[in-house]
């Protein structure tokens, strides 16, 4: 009998970690020093805070470099990192540092942020609580995906990877392990949060569950 999926929700409280950056070099140094929770916050929090909207780019690093330092070339390269290709936060950190180092070697990067517009390194603290929703089969899973709050989608899709050892998110793991839905799990892992809003991602999950259902029915 497959185990039920118990939906949880994440309540997030940001904390300033005491690191500020005003230049590309300081940003690089900050990314080197900041912990994984900070790196995670600046990569994903936009989806939590603005589940209704798309911002290009959603990564704070790319956004700040583009809109505050006005270094559009560097912002583009930072924004183009495909999150799905970074299996861990360590590999994401490596990618970010490599791009920043390369850019600093080939460009002058003299710009400083205007007064008060520094990059403030934050960390998300999240307390994860149970909700009343659970899914016992695929139809009830789709139903729950449609109605749970955005913080549940955010938690199971992104935050859960922080505590899992297998690199998967909770949804994919459940589909694969309990329902043998490897294709759906892989497609779900491939949803790129940098290209859509959390609302789009929710619709994307529902779409792929429906197409899997049709395939099975055929």
């Amino acid at each position: 009998m497959p185990a039920a999926f118990l939906f949880k929700a994440s309540s997030k409280l940001p904390e300033f970690v005491g690191i500020k950056a005003g230049t590309v070099a300081e940003l690089e140094e900050g990314i080197r020093r900041a912990d994984n929770a900070s790196l995670f916050h600046h990569t994903f929090h936009f989806l939590y805070d603005h589940p209704f909207a798309r911002r290009q780019p959603p990564s704070d690093f790319a956004y700040w470099v583009g809109t505050i330092l006005l270094d559009h070339g560097l912002a583009e390269r930072l924004a183009a990192i495909t999150i799905g290709q970074c299996a861990t936060l360590a590999s994401l950190r490596e990618r970010l540092l490599r791009i920043l180092e390369e850019h600093r070697r080939s460009h002058e990067c003299r710009t400083s942020s205007p007064d008060g517009m520094d990059f403030f390194f934050m960390r998300s603290n999240s307390v994860v609580v149970p909700t009343s929703r659970q899914a016992t089969d695929l139809p009830s899973f789709a139903e729950a995906i449609e109605s749970v709050g955005p913080s549940s989608i955010y938690h199971h899709l992104f935050e859960s990877k922080l505590s899992r050892q297998d690199g998967r998110n909770d949804f994919s793991a459940w589909l694969e392990d309990e329902w043998n839905q490897s294709t759906a799990a892989r497609r779900l892992e491939a949803l790129d949060p940098f290209l859509m809003s959390l609302g789009d991602i929710r619709r994307g999950i529902l779409g792929l569950l429906e197409s899997e259902r049709r395939t099975r029915a055929a």
Partner: protein, 416 residues
């Protein structure tokens, strides 16, 4: 009559209210003591008036204590407040004595029996001493911008607030690093208050008609004190530029400024600048005119907050909540509430304000999208329910010392 948590489901969503209940279930009987210096007037009192009853409804043992102090004490803390925001004010030994005497008197009068004592702003900050500490965690909640304090004032306050277990600021931009942990909790608006609740079309129309504002033509509104930093003269200049192309009306609504000589002078300048233009409505409203302000915002085509200097600027969240496109000055906390061209428009000049007013009037579909995003941004980030949830998470984190991702199962290992 305070609202119950269930009432917020209609605006914040069932999931948010459930999340709050789930968190609070871990904190039953948890003693939270909010301590500040005033029961009425100002944003802190407004928030605590609504927050503390909701905490109690959720099963926490929450109270709100007020410190006492005479006129001299409040004159000293007012100077200190200004100095901490950068004004050059010298703290004399006499001022320090008055501050310390009031702390001592309040230490004797109040009991500090909370699990979490949250002390708001500099006025009561000196209550924490080794004798009053007890078993509680002490948090200093700073509502002001401490990023560029007068060094003398900060030199006085720093050793006092450094004894706290954690600090809370409204924005990372306002932070001064002095404690082990610094949390960011922005202020919030109450969507069910008279200032923000939904109004019927007839309520809105009636207020517009009372002030002879024509609802059939575009209305641009700025609701603000008559204060130079809110740039009302810049707003009139921008309106005049827009008026060349669009048949707009301008509403500048603020307090009566009777007891504020500086405000009265600005108001006189505003009236002079408005001249005989019948499409400029300068309204002096009493501090209780919440429904009127609400209606003026809802009856507007575009809302402005063209500040040139601002603290958090919560009036922007109030404006965004009305589902109208908002143009704000790119200063202070306005830049957190308005993400340029996503949840509103940020401007740096009169020319910029005039250009974007015209742009939004010419592109109503874009304006409507900004307005919708702005309201959702507030729903997600600036409602009282988010604020309440933040305090519950804070209680868990500070009391357990946990950080990062904290699964609820972890909490059972700690005494809360």
């Amino acid at each position: 009559m305070p609202h119950r948590l269930e009432d917020y489901v209609q605006v914040a969503g069932r999931d948010v209210v459930e999340e709050i209940r789930s968190l609070a279930a871990r904190l039953e009987g948890f003693r939270v003591r909010h301590i500040n210096s005033t029961a009425v007037g100002g944003g802190v009192a407004e928030i605590l008036n609504r927050m503390v009853p909701l905490m109690r409804e959720l099963g926490l043992d929450a109270t709100w204590e007020l410190i006492r102090g005479g006129e001299q004490f409040f004159a000293v803390t007012k100077s200190m407040h200004n100095a901490l925001q950068g004004t050059a004010v010298a703290l004399s030994p006499e001022m320090i004595r008055i501050y310390e005497d009031a702390q001592e008197e309040n230490r004797r009068r109040l009991s500090f029996d909370g699990d979490l004592n949250i002390v708001h702003d500099p006025q009561p900050a000196g209550l924490l001493t080794p004798q009053t500490r007890g078993q509680a965690r002490w948090i200093w909640r700073c509502h002001i911008d401490l990023s560029r304090p007068n060094p003398e004032a900060w030199g006085f306050l720093r050793p006092i607030v450094s004894a706290y277990d954690a600090g809370i600021f409204s924005s990372p931009k306002f932070v001064k690093d002095f404690v082990a942990r610094t949390f960011i909790i922005p202020p919030s608006i109450d969507p069910l208050s008279d200032k923000n609740r939904d109004l019927s079309e007839s309520e809105v129309r009636q207020v517009l008609e009372t002030h002879r504002i024509d609802p059939s033509r575009p209305v641009v509104t700025q609701v603000s004190r008559f204060d130079a930093f809110k740039d009302p003269l810049g707003v009139i200049a921008a309106y005049r530029e827009v008026k060349k192309a669009f048949d707009v009306q301008l509403v500048l609504a603020g307090g009566s400024a009777d007891d504020d000589p500086e405000g009265a002078a600005i108001l006189a300048q505003v009236r002079e600048a408005a001249g005989q233009d019948r499409d400029i409505h300068v309204l002096c409203l009493p501090p209780t005119a919440h429904v009127q302000i609400n209606a003026l915002q809802r009856g507007s085509t575009i809302i402005l907050q063209k500040s040139t200097k601002e603290g958090f600027g919560l009036t922007v969240a109030e404006a965004l909540w009305k589902g109208r496109p908002v143009i704000g000055g790119a200063v202070g906390g306005i830049t957190l509430q308005i993400k340029h061209q996503l949840t509103g428009i940020l401007v740096n000049s009169v020319d910029g304000a005039a250009y974007y007013l015209k742009y939004l009037l010419a592109n109503p579909a874009f304006a409507a999208q900004l307005a919708q995003n702005g309201r959702e941004h507030v729903r997600q980030n600036y409602l009282l329910t988010r604020h309440l949830r933040d305090y519950l998470v804070l209680a868990v984190l500070v009391h357990t010392g946990a950080h990062g991702l904290v699964p609820v199962e972890e909490l059972s290992r700690h005494r809360i």
